[in-house]
Symmetry: C2
Subunit: 328 residues, 2 copies
């Protein structure tokens, strides 16, 4: 059986999810894809802490170990900030590795650059996991764009804030209570700024803008309003009228060809497709010329949803017989 | 520029939609895919009627003309019943043509057979348009199944009945009024039996069952209840309670590994993902092991939505560099 080697960069929730899925689905993936994937290196900052039993021998804090490994051809990246993620993936691509990333902060800023570099090196970049967790919005949009033009995208792109708005409405929790519970459940970071301010949704929106329009609006011109502007009273008052607040990110190409983006709380009624999207669910609607409006909904966060779409990216790349060198 | 030739079998709404999209998107498709697609034959029963100006010279009522054409490599099929559609596509595949079909009646019964024949002949079968019109449920599910297991599918798969239920609720129309209007708008056939009885949704459900589970339940064991069992009073009474009737098709694999299918009206409340799906919209929810529940929603019928996913099938096949022989 042909074996190809992979590395996982970052071994938090998502990185561990990838490792578990690759183990659980080893037989099935081998059978479907005709090759065996072996996780040969896991890059972490602190190698003294074995997060998953039996992985100690794979841990390294030195990215050079990844590229020194013979047969390395796939790099999964689940680190948080722009650096060192970008530099690592740049090197991976130059080493002719396919790269699969969940890093929206990096990809919103450097995604186009990374994809151009990959094209030049004959490898693929999978980035389904950068937007909307388990919701396969990138693949759906890529496929639609083969024939359709997308004119507008509207979505709930942050699971944490949607969870908070849901609980404030359903349970009458205060903003602070809802945030504390989101943190306890691991949805929100210790510093929740990126979620509640809308910055996280904004980054994801910019990635969708790149894909749909081939460009982004100037970041300074995108209005980004967080849910921290909403009080429990606002939410209660809306609920009494049969309305709900959703934290909506939208980007569109206007008649003059300008790209306009916005992230803000929005009141929706029961007829709106985003009305029933509760808890950590995400949803993305696309307006297209031939199909009309398409909406994809699913879990926007979590170990398995996010890790699973990354493994799907890998399977899709393999399905393309993407220039893998197989060693028997 | 390399040119590959295509035929369109059946030149009703969907067939004409394919022709229009291929013309409108000629430049763009050529640029994206690196080949030019030329519609060289259109097979109809009555060649005396030119449905689209400028197509008279392409019309034929003889399928042999399709295979006699040098360089024929793609066959789009938009005929209604099992025969002659199946025989035509069988011959097309044996002639090493990729085939793309919108024919759910044929595909529910002969889909697996056709796909096996295609595999043997090294060509592809595109069948996105057989289920849920413009909603890319087949591609979404195929992709998910690379890594996830699907345990249950639930959806609104018939646009006509969903339109009728919507109008009865919103406008207070009787069943007969709603049906007449659906026919006037071209949603329902002159004989509406297949739509209102649930048979149309049933066929689509069987195609999804094949894909998700590799098998179908015995057709005789699937309970199929139409919307003709519902009265305006039922719908009004539900609406007063904040509930809505949806015509839901579902199939699942139970704990014993049995495949159980059902098509029937179902009462849903405002929290249910199918609650806001009005008019001719379709929606499909899939329960999966890693991602959780994913829902895709969009227009379930119409010339452009359906034709557009067929052209996407073509573009996807080309993207696979699927053994096309290119003539310069």
């Amino acid at each position: 059986m042909a074996v190809i080697k992979a590395a996982i960069l970052g071994f938090g929730t998502v990185g561990q999810g990838i490792y578990h899925i690759l183990n659980e689905k080893r037989e099935e993936l081998r059978e479907k894809l005709g090759v065996e994937l072996e996780v040969a290196k896991i890059v972490v900052r602190d190698t003294s802490r074995e997060r998953v039993p039996g992985t100690q021998h794979l841990l390294t804090d030195n990215i050079d170990d990844v590229f020194a490994e013979k047969g390395m051809q796939v790099v999964f990246e689940a680190i948080v900030n722009e650096e060192p993620a970008f530099s690592y993936l740049q090197r991976a691509i130059e080493h002719k590795c396919h790269v699969i990333t969940a890093n929206k902060v990096m990809f919103a800023k450097r995604g186009i650059e990374l994809q151009e570099l990959a094209k030049k090196n004959g490898v693929f970049v999978g980035y389904e996991a950068t937007v909307a967790g388990g919701v396969p919005i990138i693949k759906t949009m890529k496929n639609i764009l083969l024939v359709n033009d997308v004119s507008r995208i509207q979505g709930i792109l942050n699971g944490t804030t949607n969870y908070m708005l849901t609980k404030m409405r359903q349970e009458g929790w205060s903003y602070d209570q809802a945030l504390a519970e989101a943190q306890r459940l691991g949805y929100a970071e210790a510093d929740p700024f990126n979620d509640v301010s809308g910055q996280d949704a904004f980054k994801k929106l910019m990635i969708l803008s790149d894909l749909a329009f081939g460009e982004q609006p100037a970041w300074s011109e995108v209005e980004v309003i967080g849910i921290d502007t909403l009080t429990l009273d606002d939410i209660k008052a809306a609920n009494e009228k049969g309305l709900r607040y959703r934290h909506v990110a939208e980007v569109e190409k206007n008649a003059e060809g300008q790209i306009i983006g916005k992230v803000a709380p929005m009141l929706v009624n029961a007829e709106h497709p985003l009305f029933p999207i509760d808890d950590v669910f995400n949803a993305v609607s696309m307006e297209t010329n031939y199909i009309g409006t398409l909406t994809v909904t699913g879990p926007g966060a979590g170990m398995y949803p996010t890790a699973s779409v990354m493994v799907e990216d890998y399977a899709e790349i393999i399905g393309k017989r993407a220039g893998f060198v197989v060693s028997i």
